[in-house]
Point group: C2
Amino acid sequence: METLVSAPAFDRRAFRSALGSFATGVTVITTRAADGSPIGLTANSFNSVSLDPPLVLWGLAKNARSMPVFAEAEHWAVHVLSAEQEALSNAFAKSGEDKFSGVELETGHADLPLLTGCAARFQCKTRFCYEGGDHIIFVGEVIEFDRRDATPLVFHAGRYALAASKDAGRAPGGSARLAGSFDDDHLGYLLGRAHFQFYAPIRAAVREQGLDDAEYFALLTLTIRGRAGAAELARLNALTDCLLSEARLDSLVLRGLLTVDEEDGERRYALTARGSDVALRLIAVAKAREADLLQSFGDTDALALKTLLHRLSGLAGPHPDLWQPDGSLTAC
Amino acid sequence: METLVSAPAFDRRAFRSALGSFATGVTVITTRAADGSPIGLTANSFNSVSLDPPLVLWGLAKNARSMPVFAEAEHWAVHVLSAEQEALSNAFAKSGEDKFSGVELETGHADLPLLTGCAARFQCKTRFCYEGGDHIIFVGEVIEFDRRDATPLVFHAGRYALAASKDAGRAPGGSARLAGSFDDDHLGYLLGRAHFQFYAPIRAAVREQGLDDAEYFALLTLTIRGRAGAAELARLNALTDCLLSEARLDSLVLRGLLTVDEEDGERRYALTARGSDVALRLIAVAKAREADLLQSFGDTDALALKTLLHRLSGLAGPHPDLWQPDGSLTAC
């Protein structure tokens, strides 16, 4: 015989976790209280309901502090947050009086407080309030809406996430697995290939300046560090295995790209005006290469890729940090 | 005076597009018709409603073919799809008779047809059917559920997507922008750093075998191609700029790693048993490096990163395809 699972026997944590496997966007819902003060809260229970008439819904806990206000409110606004609005999501997820302090507001229908910079906004008029267990389901008719291209804020498994393209045409692992070799789904191969492809036109520009990779890396490092000896340059570029001896650095001095002085018996190098000019030209090529690729790649995937590469870098072992004053190893 | 926007004046396409900016997971909802046949459809209008009692909801168009069945059904099951189940999502999004053909099924409460391999499943008993414009909102009490760790299938802006970690601790662009240089949010820098970090322990193993990068790449290429001349090896590794002359390949012959024969006047190289053994050891190091990193990185981010790198690679210009019989350039 079938019995409904009663609340105490039901593992609530496991249920929450199972619900969390359904990814959602994140919204902030706002309205105005009878006393005129703006009210808002974070919700991921938003969803579309109907196209004709245009209806959307979201759920609010019956014991929520703002329930009396929303129960009375004729209008409310749903703000679909962008990836840059994580702080806003956190601020409106807390219970507190001053959620709106410092938040830029616009005014909508029926004096609705509207947040700015969102992926989409829906101004709604309450149509139905439905019983939903410990929640009330608010269904609203959309009176007005707007949207802009934005990278969405995603919520999954209790954490914020980013959306990344899922290329239906190319399933990872698509090339046949080779028993005696690797395949084109090996992460090392993919990273190397992407690096070398990205770098190819930059390398061509580097060669045009009569430089090899090691010399290019040394010039780059000096644009950040200002002045450094051969040992420090070698340490900062150790991962590339593209290292320059003092003799090779001295040849860059002879070519007018570097100056050298001695301090405490160590030869220290810096860019000449010409060296700086060459470095800036090559950096401009690298920046143009990035801009060019990211234009077709799109902001959403660019943010996801960069974030994942930062994360991988933090796991892949310490790396010299060019931007730290002492160039110390950073484990992220 | 405020007026509700009537359907004809309402730009439905723009409204859909605005709704699409809210990311969702993807579910397949199933039930059994009175005649015993399984019924199912894809929906992204699922959401949680209540913890106590445990309630979830989803919406179905009033004119949907399956509406009569769901209107009568006492039970239905919600399947939250994983990233590997895109084909299932597509199959159940079409109208047709044979959606279930070839689909592995389990049997749940009240003979519910349950799909396998999902991120989560909720078996529900209908509690409320609410009016929702051109849709009916079904609210069900969850009788039983299960979940497994799985990479979620995400739907955003009308397309499938993957979820990627959003590391709150490290906002891209975190290092100060340097006017006269690049910073650690430059994609080229991030790709290079990740590549070199990934490769560092592999390079150490390569050096232990007395090999340099170019020699390693040549051995790797020969594990895939079997036999190749210097020109073909150079073409396949052109992006790395790590190229071997015939003289250097001949030195690998002298070291017992390669054999050489001549065909049509061209010297063609292949791995000896020892060369093959060395290559396989190094490939094992590379595979262990990947396994080790991905264990902490996690399956969800691994899939997102690999997919993004494949996509970037397709945009970054043609690259030699080691796995194509003719090694032709691939533009993905």
